[in-house]
Amino acid sequence: MDGPQGRTASEWALLAVNVFKVCGAAIGGMVIRGAPGPARDAALAACRDSAGATPWTRIPINVDQDRLLGGLDLAATLAASKPVVSQGLLALADQGTVVLAMAERQAEFVTASLCDVLDTHELRIEREGLAATARAELAVIALDEGRDDDAPLAIGLRERLALTLETDYLPADVPYACADATAPDWQRVTVPVEAYTTLVNIADQLGIDSPRPVLAAINIARVLAAFEHAREASDRHVTEAAVLALLMRMPGGLAALEQTAEQPDAAVDDPHEEPPTPTADPEQDAARDPTDDEPTASDAAAPEKLDEATEALLPLQLLTQLAAAAARQQRTRNAGNSGAQAKANARGRPLASRPGIPAAGARLDLLATLKSAAPWQKLRPARSNARIAVQKDDLRVRRFKAQTRSTTVFIVDASGSAAIQRLAETKGAIELLLAECYVRRDQVALVAFRNDSAEVLLPATRSLVRAKRALAALPGGGGTPLAHGLRAGLELADAIAKRGETPLVVLLTDARANIALDGSANPALADEHALAVGKEFAQRGYQSLLIDAGRRPGRRCQQLADALDARYLPLPFADAGSVSQAVQGMAA
């Protein structure tokens, strides 16, 4: 192998797996991004050590907090008549690997717990009358199946996992099967001071702000040097570490690198468009367009000097393009707060447990059960096999006061018809509502439609920073694809309802639809489609409010409101106050 340029995608993948096996826990672990399939299975299997001596724990999507962190062990507690800890999955995985299935959809407590364990290398629990600390030095493999429009992997976990494999860009038959590489004493390999500068510069070019990936890159450089029994990491090791820890982290990073390697002189086109994305969704592409012209931080950054070896492998241009593509993607996705699937009576403020039989949905509150049994022990006849006599009357089940959190979905007409004149007023009304949602801790989501499509400008979020940004960037003008807007809003509301929250729909439009669902400019058909989609809101029973943004309140809006079964609010004068009053009335 001559130089770093020689490596193919398969070879990079093999290298990443070898690095993972040597120092997975020290660098957090790996994200395997891509749809389930043979390529992913092969990569996952390769990460597992061949002897199978270390724990390999898979965390399913529906894991509960007790099992993940540990809790009271029911059987053992009863047998020993004193509290016994049952070890959580994370403690059991000590010195091994945790595989996080559907990582992008895992609940916040799962990702946040993993982050904590990765930082402190121990698992501390303070739960249900137990206080314990267990060692948990582990590597995490997060299986990220998120497509373009899904919520991405929680940012905190993402930045703690150093390596990334995008299996969609890898052949299914990567030759992982070669002998395990060994890197004796990699911790002792020295890294030249210039390496820090090089790596920070590359991270800066890629728009990676956090120091964690860079620190991991340094350790990877050590491992790469140790593979070759070198005492000091060379420039090549550092550059290769940058590829593994920094470049491969960017979506489509490796594919773009390969391209530049094949045709070193040709200008790189937008790397994000070139590789065959699994979801070639025209709507998604269109959705990105309006944000294209915004300058990103990395565009503005002056090119820092990279040394020649690095420049040869990682052209500056490539870095800035990847950064821009990632920033663009980030904006259309919902950050962090991934699909925590709220189940009724499983979360929220705990209420006093009540007597009851644990059955579907209702979980036994062991602590409360034992407490209610405890005073009677002396009176109850002791049985030979059980230390504690628990009777049916003692059983207590948990109750939670579920937070009835609502999410207000704004569907905003940003078309060129009457609404455009009032877009500013509309924005004013929404801002006021946002401020109130913020105080109530409700979430908001924003869908806008214009030209020939609708766009989710803001997935459900509580972050005001993001809401503000999305609203400021709301452009106006073009046709009125009302049905598209309604459909996008409906999908969003469905997703919210599925999470166990209540969607409230606020539609601001003049209802002068002129683009039909098939994209044709046919007002009659467009109307028909809009009404058809509107009826689905009524069928699902979503609370909705239609604000007539036309200059003169019209029959068309009334009609649409009937279809939606929505409250109708003509708004001949912009009056943010009455809008917010109406929405509050709806929520009550």
């Binding site: 907090q65 993940l68 962190l69 008549s81 004193k82 509290p83 916040e108 407590f109 946040a112 904590d116 501390r124 629990i125 303070e126 739960r127 249900e128 009358g129 137990l130 206080a131 940012i155 930045e159 911790q187 890294v191 820090y196 790596l199 920070v200 800066d204 702000d209 956090s210 120091p211 964690r212 860079v214 620190l215 340094i218 820092e304 950050a335 962090g336 707060n337 929220g348 403020r349 705990p350 602590l367 034992l370 407490k371 405890a374 005073p375 022990q377 002396k378 504690i388 937070q403 801002e431 946002l434 401020a435 913020y438 105080v439 801790r441 509580r462 972050s463 005001l464 920073v465 503000k468």
Partner: protein, 340 residues
């Protein structure tokens, strides 16, 4: 929390405001909690965990679950009562910095019926929780915005009253719980309710360093530390002990600090100009300025100290239009420059 595993406080690159806020809270707990909000990987957790190593030891009643102060006799637990009658010597102990783990349940926070005793002996006794352990120290919550609301409410209430009242499961217990609440989080994951914001004494907005050299320095120190933590700490020992001394003398002098009328007047003017609600703003501002003066080794609080802490103490108290783009920090700075 194991203090000797921590990254040295003084080795944190930049983030002066964050360090200042923590030191102020360490000097005078009555300033109230510290809220650190901002970008990832900026050393928020590192700073809190490092703080433990700087705090001077304190005298406690040996064996008391609440770290009671032998001088004050405010605890009232059996251990303390026995201690008061005996002539045992108090124990020197490290100031507790309690790290609240994720997924903590309410019974472990406030304390609850001791299950083991209840099961084995049928006795009703209280098992102290994290609040007891944090008494006279710090309670750190990472990702405070992910914590369940009812727990945040509870913590703020106890932090404000300095006392934990447990009325549950037939128990009625009251014990001192004076601690400095330190919360950290990332605003991209959702913000804190405004009602909670101003319950924190001082707040800091941390940003990733923009200077490339700072960032390189961050990486270099962190990597050095991970290579050989012990040697790294030895290299920083002198700086650490300088800060430790400064902190200790500030804690001694805080009670003799004089606050002249013109400073009080300036604080009131500033709060009025910014339209902060209630008196909590003024009070925190004065207390923080006093702690700052003590840290600087001064005997009298001046308006310069006031200026130095104005942003920390007030930026989260502005009655804000949540959509106003003007950064709170900028607004405070503007008001400060107008007022002085």
């Amino acid at each position: 929390m194991v203090a000797n595993k921590a990254f040295p406080f003084t080795a944190i690159v930049g983030q002066e405001q964050m360090k200042q806020a923590m030191l102020i809270a360490a000097v005078d707990a009555s300033v109230g909690g510290v809220l650190v909000f901002g970008d990832r990987g900026t050393g928020k957790s590192t700073a809190v965990r490092a703080l433990a190593a700087l705090l001077p030891k304190m005298a406690v009643v040996p064996g008391c679950a609440y770290n009671a102060d032998p001088q004050r006799k405010d605890c009232g637990c059996d251990v303390c009562k026995r201690f008061a009658r005996s002539d045992d010597a108090p124990k020197q102990a490290a100031v507790p910095v309690v790290d609240m783990p994720l997924g903590v349940t309410e019974d472990r926070v406030v304390g609850a019926l001791d299950l083991e005793r209840a099961l084995a002996h049928g006795e009703k006794s209280f098992e102290p929780g994290l609040l007891a352990r944090a008494n006279r120290g710090f309670l750190y919550i990472d990702e405070v915005n992910l914590l369940e609301d009812h727990l945040v409410d509870l913590l703020l209430d106890v932090a404000a009253s300095g006392e934990n009242l447990v009325e549950r499961e037939g128990l009625s217990v009251r014990h001192p719980a004076k601690f400095v609440l330190v919360g950290s989080g990332n605003p991209e994951e959702g913000e804190l309710r405004p009602q909670l914001l101003d319950r924190f004494g001082v707040s800091v907005d941390v940003k990733t360093p923009t200077d490339i050299n700072d960032r390189i320095e961050v990486i270099r120190r962190r990597d050095d530390f991970e290579q050989d933590p012990a040697a790294f700490r030895r290299r920083w020992a002198r700086k650490e002990s300088a800060v430790r001394k400064r902190l200790a003398s500030a804690r001694d002098n805080i009670h003799n600090m004089r606050v002249p009328d013109n400073v009080l007047h300036a604080a009131a003017t500033l709060c009025l100009a910014l339209g902060t609600d209630g008196l909590r703003g003024e009070l925190t501002l004065i207390r923080a300025a006093r702690a700052q003066a003590a840290l600087d080794g001064d005997k009298t609080v001046t308006t310069a100290h006031l200026q130095a802490v104005a942003t920390l103490a007030l930026r989260h108290r502005l009655r804000r239009d949540p959509l106003d783009d003007a950064d709170a920090t900028v607004r405070v700075e503007r008001a400060v420059s107008e007022a002085f």
